[in-house]
């Protein structure tokens, strides 16, 4: 079986066709002939842990597995020089509107490669409207942003640099800036053969750097590679609950612990909208800019999420399932940061999720779980095993602008 590893969706459907005879209700049964080589992003040396959930949906739930190396797209291979350039660009605010915000501003390595507040900083004079997501392990996603609007890290970087409440940069200007930084001219020429730095290659370099920011050596990964002592007793109990009674694997499955599908789990609306003027402005802007009917624009008071991709009412309030890896460092949680701790997230699901404006679309998978306090703590313990050491990268020194040759006029 061959897979296009850059596209998990296609991969999943390939599996569904070729293994239809092995299908077993809501999940790959433990006896299904799914090997580790079939599981996208899995370390070949990993054992697999299959879902024990009963009564879930018909979606295939990939088994849990240790994380393999990130997929590298054929059209953007990794090289040390490219990665180094990408690191510089990741920290360089000149890839934005007024030069003050870089990728790292909203994906700050020292705080989980995201932002500590519920929602991300916006561009100066604005605020964002969704929680900043960690860069760690972003290499494995086929869908970037909370509503999956980018299919690659390359296009995610481009979009984030351009949005009015994000980077607010304009392509011609950002590209022109690169041309006036001699060190970048040399590096783009070396890495990409550019006569003048091309902005599309800046996104490539940044994506290459981001593909180096992954973590495949968490305690859980060690456990799956055969170190039984890597998880302590509470974590093992938590794992049992995670794969069974709590039903987490309906959505959080595979080595990334995300099926990258869209669900409305009833996360309540961002409370800042009640009393934060900048948040109110940005909220209306997003409704307007992403395309709403007038009626919808006037009356909506919560983030319609995936709806903006499909314009189907049934998709209002749905967001792409996030990975559970590295979550020890990425609080607060959910697309709008409304849950402050991992424990509050588990409690949220134990209560059967929440209520929001689009609860009619709430997933049927979300229902009260009947977990005891101890069981909740065990699941939290397990979730903590999905994070290893904090990944810290120091911001590099950035090269300065310099005039071009022949700076005298009239030539």
């Amino acid at each position: 079986m061959t897979f296009s590893i850059s596209n998990p969706l296609r991969m999943a459907s390939a599996v569904m066709v070729t293994t239809a005879c092995l299908w077993s209700g809501s999940a790959y049964a433990a006896d299904a002939k799914i090997g580790v080589s079939d599981v996208p992003n899995a370390d070949p040396k990993s054992k697999l842990i299959f879902s024990n959930t009963t009564g879930g949906d018909a979606d295939a739930d990939w088994p849990l597995a240790a994380l393999g190396k990130p997929p590298i797209p054929d059209d953007n291979r990794q090289t040390p020089a490219k990665i180094e350039l990408g690191k510089m660009l990741f920290f360089d605010g000149r890839l934005g509107g007024d030069g003050s915000l870089s990728c790292a501003s909203c994906h700050e390595p020292s705080v989980g490669w995201d932002v500590e507040a519920k929602i991300s900083f916006g561009y100066p004079g604005t605020t964002h409207w969704r929680n900043s997501q960690t860069i760690v392990n972003s290499a494995y996603y086929g869908k970037l942003f909370w509503a999956g609007s980018s299919k690659s890290l390359e296009s995610q970087a481009k979009s984030a640099a351009g949005g009015a409440v994000a980077g607010n940069g304009e392509a011609d200007m950002m590209e022109a800036r690169l041309a006036f930084i001699p060190e970048y001219r040399e590096r783009f020429a070396d890495v990409f053969g550019d006569q003048w730095p091309r902005l599309s290659n800046a996104w490539r370099a940044i994506a290459s750097f981001e593909r180096t920011i992954f973590q495949d050596d968490t305690p859980f990964d060690a456990y799956l590679r055969g170190d039984d002592k890597a998880l302590h007793a509470a974590q093992k109990r938590g794992l049992e609950l995670f794969t069974g009674k709590a039903g987490c694997m309906e959505c959080h499955n595979g080595p990334l612990l995300s099926d990258e599908k869209y669900y409305n789990t009833g996360v309540p609306a961002l409370d800042l909208w009640n009393d934060d003027a900048l948040a109110q402005i940005t909220f209306r802007y997003e409704l307007y800019a992403k395309g709403s009917t007038e009626d919808m624009y006037r009356s909506t008071k919560d983030d319609p999420g995936f709806y903006f991709r499909t314009k189907e009412k049934a998709d209002k309030g749905k967001f792409r399932v996030p990975s559970l890896r590295y979550t020890k460092y990425t609080e607060p949680y959910m697309h709008n940061g409304m849950l402050p701790t991992l424990k509050s997230v588990v409690q949220f699901y134990n209560a059967g999720g929440g209520i929001n404006e689009f609860s009619a679309n709430k997933s049927k998978l979300i229902k009260p779980l009947g977990l005891s306090d101890k069981e909740i703590d065990d699941i939290v313990s397990f979730l903590e095993s999905l994070s290893g050491d904090e990944l810290i990268v120091e911001a590099p020194d950035l090269p300065e602008y310099a005039p071009l040759a022949n700076a005298r006029g009239r030539k």
Partner: protein
């Protein structure tokens, strides 16, 4: 003289249309074939008041740092007093900020004349261009909706709520109110020197060939050989803006270009003989708007007069009608006096300048129950 007589013909036709009004307004001031004053334009007051507040409000730029008035400052004749303009934070400009006084009468916009008479379009350009105000107008609209003062003002101006279309109507309406007032030339109170200067302007200096009409401009592009301002190419932030502009406008070879092509972006001659043409600027309110020319390279009116007395600058495409004028020192001084007489009262009263604006946004109460 063909070119000159054509230009005089144009000015003459214009003046003929105005002569009746002139006679009524200030019979003692000028010969009937002289231009001016600039006619006031009827404005919708509520819309103009709204435009005035918008003009002074920095929330109309992407990061909330720049208002229209940041570069078009009332006390500097709605220019900025600098050779080359500032620009959006993180960038610098590559041309001189022109005055906005009497701008409602302009036939074309920007030093290169790349936009026509629709001030609505010009307003959009200024607000959204990345090196100007870098504003996503959809976000601007929501900012304005957050300010109860604007909600009220848009209603008073006959609009249901703040909108980016409304902004693009209101700012031009405000600009219509910026009309020269009490210039000695218009009131007939010119000094003897200025009167002599007027004769040179009309005659030996041939200034009126291009500087015709009430605003003393033909609104047409000409190459007078103004030297490049090397700062554009020596200061990366300016050169970056220049390159950004070149890319967007489709100017060839923009990375190696070391000159401002001016009106070429409009006419696009393949042989590039249109390089370096710039639209004739108005001569009104010069007292407040030094330095001069599209790139601010001439610091004083005296320098400008000297420049033309020498037949303009050096350029292969220079307009062939520019020739040394052989004006004496005294004639040059008289010409400067006349130019100074074209400046009126500063437009710095509350009629023209908005009250202080509280730029802090206030949350909308009962947000859930309030329609967006």
């Amino acid at each position: 003289m063909n070119w000159l007589s054509k230009s005089f013909g144009y000015a003459g036709a214009l003046s003929a249309c105005l002569s009746l009004a002139l006679v009524v307004e200030s019979p003692q001031a000028r010969a009937a074939d002289m231009p001016g004053p600039v006619k006031a334009v009827k404005v919708k007051q509520a819309l103009a008041d709204l435009g005035k507040r918008l003009f002074f409000d920095p929330r109309l730029s992407g990061d909330g740092e720049l208002a229209c008035a940041s570069c078009h400052q009332p006390e500097k004749g709605f220019a900025d007093g600098m050779e080359l303009s500032d620009a959006y934070p993180g960038t610098l400009g590559f041309r001189n900020t022109p005055t906005l006084i009497n701008s409602a009468q302009r036939a074309v916009w920007f030093h290169d004349g790349r936009m026509g008479t629709s001030l609505n379009d010009v307003t959009r350009e200024m607000l959204t261009e990345t090196y100007l105000m870098n504003m996503d107008m959809r976000l601007m609209q929501e900012r304005l909706k957050q300010d109860p003062v604007y909600v009220k003002m848009f209603k008073a101006a006959g609009m249901s709520e703040p909108s980016n279309g409304g902004v693009r109507n209101a700012i031009p309406e405000y600009l219509k109110t910026l009309v020269s007032k009490n210039a000695p030339y218009d009131t007939g109170k010119m000094s003897a020197s200025a009167k002599r200067g007027q004769d040179i302007f009309m005659g030996k200096g041939e200034c009126i060939a291009c500087h015709s009409g009430d605003r003393f401009t033909d609104d047409k592009p000409h190459n007078t050989g103004v030297p490049e301002n090397d700062k554009i190419f020596e200061e990366p932030l300016r050169h970056i803006t220049f390159v950004t502009f070149g890319k967007f406008m489709g100017i060839g070879n923009y990375m190696n270009l070391r000159r401002d092509v001016g009106g070429h972006v409009v006419t696009n001659y393949a042989d590039k003989t249109d390089y370096g043409q710039f639209v004739t600027p108005t001569l009104r309110e010069l007292k407040y708007t030094a330095p001069y020319m599209h790139n601010g390279t001439l610091r004083s009116l005296q320098e400008v007069v000297t420049f033309y007395n020498e037949g303009g600058g050096d350029d292969v495409n220079k307009d062939s009608h520019l020739k040394p004028l052989f004006l004496s020192e005294r004639e040059q001084a008289d010409l400067v006096s006349f130019l100074e007489a074209l400046s009126g009262d500063p437009l710095t009263s509350k009629t023209y300048v908005a009250d202080e604006i509280d730029t802090d946004y206030v949350p909308i109460k009962s947000w859930r129950k309030t329609k967006n």
